[in-house]
């Protein structure tokens, strides 16, 4: 922290002529040019691949437009947004999505950290085996994982009702039990991702600091809270941000397990239903735009409020 403050204070103290000199030097100009040559193509492709669909969705969202009735296309301005934001279905879907995001990311962070510690501590021939075993769920395709969980809890195909003593209780016909299974499958599938990110953070914690704390008589708990976690802050925040964005866009699990029945709609499944199932391109685009706004809001909150520093997470700080 002090490092950052010192640096920013130093930046402020640089005089204007000095700055101009630095900017104007041939070396700096050449580096800037090289930077653009290297990053330019990627930037252009990024704008084409992501920018174009976003602008197209924004444009389409202003129309009442059904794919199978192109002749009835009509400009309606912001009406679609009004319909969505005054519909209880949107708010229910948003609530479900937020709940899934908070629950899964919180649980994954705790389990993921424990797994990262295991991967970090284990040594010798056991290390590759443990790491591979932990990463297996992440290698499973989400749709396959969703089917596996659905079959496991299905009344006719599953064994979980017997294991849990649920008898003939239909897990997927009840909102909360269905959401619980959806969350469980999400946690099972993506905890390895978080643990990988946290493992990278653990590797960056200076061992001399931990050892010094040990010598000073700090307990394991104190070392964790006062040395390890503060040094991993950047990794933890990046893991949180990446997983929160991922969880907020949840679609596959819900689509496979309930198709949004029993009140389990999420924002993505709502967008799918309007755009793909109903072919109401205008309304669906408006839902997608709102989903995009939510994702932007999560990024903004993470970067501005929680001060996630992506550069520090890469080890540049």
């Amino acid at each position: 922290m002090s490092q950052v403050e010192t640096r920013s204070a130093g930046d402020l103290s640089v005089s204007r002529p000095a700055k101009r000199r630095a900017r104007g030097s041939d070396k700096a100009r050449a580096e800037a040019r090289l930077g653009w040559y290297l990053a330019g193509p990627a930037f252009v492709i990024l704008v084409a691949v992501t920018g174009y669909p976003i602008l197209q969705a924004l444009y389409e969202s202003l129309f009442s437009y059904r794919l199978t009735a192109p002749g009835d296309r009509e400009f309606v301005g912001l009406k679609n947004y009004g319909v969505i934001l005054t519909d209880s279905l949107w708010w229910k879907a948003l609530g479900n999505t937020a709940m899934i995001t908070v629950v899964t990311v919180a649980v994954e962070l705790v389990i993921g950290f424990a797994l990262a510690m295991v991967m970090h501590k284990v040594l010798g021939w056991l290390r590759p085996i443990v790491r591979t075993a932990i990463l297996v769920p992440y290698a499973v395709i989400t749709v396959v994982s969703a089917y596996a969980w659905q079959y496991a809890f299905g009344l006719t195909t599953g064994f979980m009702n017997v294991v849990l003593g649920l008898d003939d209780f239909d897990v997927f016909a009840n909102k909360w039990s269905a959401l619980a299974v959806i969350c469980l499958s999400e946690i099972w599938k993506t905890t390895p991702f978080i643990s990988l990110l946290l493992l990278a953070g653990l590797a960056q914690v200076p061992s001399d600091m931990t050892e010094a704390a040990k010598v000073d008589g700090a307990t394991a708990w104190e070392r964790l809270w006062k040395v390890t976690l503060p040094n991993m802050k950047a990794s933890i925040m990046v893991a949180l941000l990446f997983r929160a964005l991922d969880a907020f866009r949840i679609f596959d699990n819900v689509y496979i397990m309930t198709k949004g029945a029993a009140g389990t709609e999420t924002v993505s499944s709502l967008a799918y239903n309007q755009t793909i199932s109903r072919l109401e391109i205008g309304l669906g685009s408006a839902v997608s735009v709102l989903l995009f706004v939510c994702v932007l809001a999560i990024c903004f909150i993470a970067i501005k409020v929680f001060k996630v520093d992506l550069a520090r997470a890469r080890g540049e700080g």
Partner: protein, 433 residues
């Protein structure tokens, strides 16, 4: 200098390869000039692929038919076809269409106009409901291929123990009482899906009502008939099933296949379902996964009535064959459709895949009669069957019904009115679905 030439040569080669690739992608004809027709089929036991091969051979080089398989779910089939057709995809020549999506496809201009002589030829001798399903605004726009209907299936031993007279039409109330008395269940499809609309529509039609009163109207002008005496009678059947506890396990997530399995495994002694369950039970008995005695206990009759003396209007399903408006070989495609829906092919398809024919004469075929002892019940049911609402907005109506009438245990006296209001708002663009 040499380097520049090499670069130009490289660009030329790449362009040639790319152009060749694009030609290969876009072309649908073989080098010999025989057009290749691409037929998008719903999944089956391979019967449509066999018909495609037979018709290709019989055409004497006039065309070759290739098949591409659509998703299993009817709604997913529609999604794929509509997205392709909306993009003017010329790779679709023929398509197997669920009758409920015929109006939307036709209204969007995605179907090639059927010549008048073929309209006559394709509808001659076909059951009325199937002709209605294949038509839009009074004109045949697709060819009826097969025409499905639901029957009431029962375990003979249980029906006998309950004292049911299966020679007369049964009512839902009789079934509920019998199932309750025998401690068994009635297999119905309570999933939030298309199958829910099939059930609700059949009950409303059987009670003398209509889900849509003006099917030709544009979305916002559609008048729904859910909030009616017939709608309330349909809701009452569901309430009775729930109150008597005869819905069976997992009713809210059960589709046709799950219902068939429940019946097969003894979890329900009564069930409403399509005739495929007979072929499924037969092969299970032959493979030894089900006792032959259980299969021998299978009984069938026409769909349950809403009240005594009132004729039931069973669900009508099936598949129609449409020719795409964007096909580059429409003449050959029309010829191919005539071959596909021939009496011989419909009979063979019914025997091989268990899907009932749309042509009435097929039911006189001894092979069909031998494979399907209930052929006469199917024919009777097809004659009485009521199509689902024929509207270009079927998807909205169907999803709205499935959304509001599920779970079955949640259906009350207010459900018909609530669903009418909700679907009306969706059709007027005031609500999400």
């Amino acid at each position: 200098m040499a380097g520049r030439w090499r670069t130009r040569l490289g660009i030329l080669s790449a362009a040639t390869v790319l152009a060749g690739g694009l030609t290969a992608c876009g072309g649908s004809s073989t080098a010999s000039g025989t057009p290749t027709l691409n037929w998008y089929v719903n999944p089956d036991n391979g019967g449509q692929a066999k018909i495609a091969a037979d018709c290709s051979e019989q055409s004497g080089g006039a065309y070759t038919i290739d098949t591409s398989i659509l998703p299993r779910d009817a709604a997913a089939q529609r999604e794929q076809l509509m997205r392709r057709l909306a993009g003017n995809d010329s790779s679709i020549d023929l398509m197997s269409l669920d009758p409920v999506f015929v109006p939307e496809t036709s209204e969007a201009g995605f179907l090639a106009k059927v010549p008048a002589d073929l309209q006559q030829q394709w509808s001659d001798g076909v059951v009325d409901g199937a002709v209605q399903g294949a038509s839009w605004k009074g004109e045949l726009v697709t060819a009826p291929f097969w025409a499905n209907t639901q029957l009431l299936w029962y375990r003979k031993s249980v029906a006998q123990a309950a004292g049911l007279d299966v020679t007369k039409p049964l009512t839902w109330d009789q079934l509920v009482q019998a199932a309750k008395a025998q401690g068994t269940a009635i297999g119905v499809q309570g999933q939030r899906a298309e199958s829910m609309t099939v059930w609700v529509n059949a009950m409303i039609a059987s009670a003398g009502g209509e889900v849509i009163e003006n099917p030709d109207a544009k979305g916002p002008d559609i008048r729904l008939g859910l909030e009616s005496d017939a709608g309330k009678a349909a809701a009452k059947v569901m309430q009775d099933i729930t109150a008597a506890g005869v819905g069976g396990p997992g009713i809210d997530n059960r589709d046709e296949a799950a219902t068939a399995n429940l019946f097969q495994q003894g979890g329900a002694a009564f069930m409403v379902n399509w005739p495929f369950v007979y072929a499924q039970g037969k092969s299970a008995a032959e493979e030894g996964t089900m006792d032959q005695a259980v299969f021998d206990d299978y009984g069938w009759t026409t769909y349950p009535a809403m009240s005594e003396g009132q004729e039931a209007k069973p669900p009508l399903g099936g598949i129609d064959i449409g020719v795409s408006a964007f096909s580059e070989h429409q003449d050959a495609a029309f010829q191919a459709v005539s071959c596909i829906v021939s009496e011989q092919n419909q009979a063979a398809y019914m025997v091989s895949d268990g899907n009932p024919a749309a042509l009435e004469s097929v039911y006189d075929d001894p092979q069909v009669q031998e494979a399907y002892p209930m052929y006469d019940t199917i024919r009777t049911s097809l004659q009485a069957a009521a199509p689902r609402p024929q509207t270009a907005y079927y998807n909205e109506v169907s999803q709205g019904i499935a959304d509001q009438w599920q779970p079955v245990s949640g259906v009350t006296d207010r459900t018909p009115g609530a669903s009418q209001e909700y679907i009306g708002e969706v059709l007027r663009g005031e609500k999400l679905l």
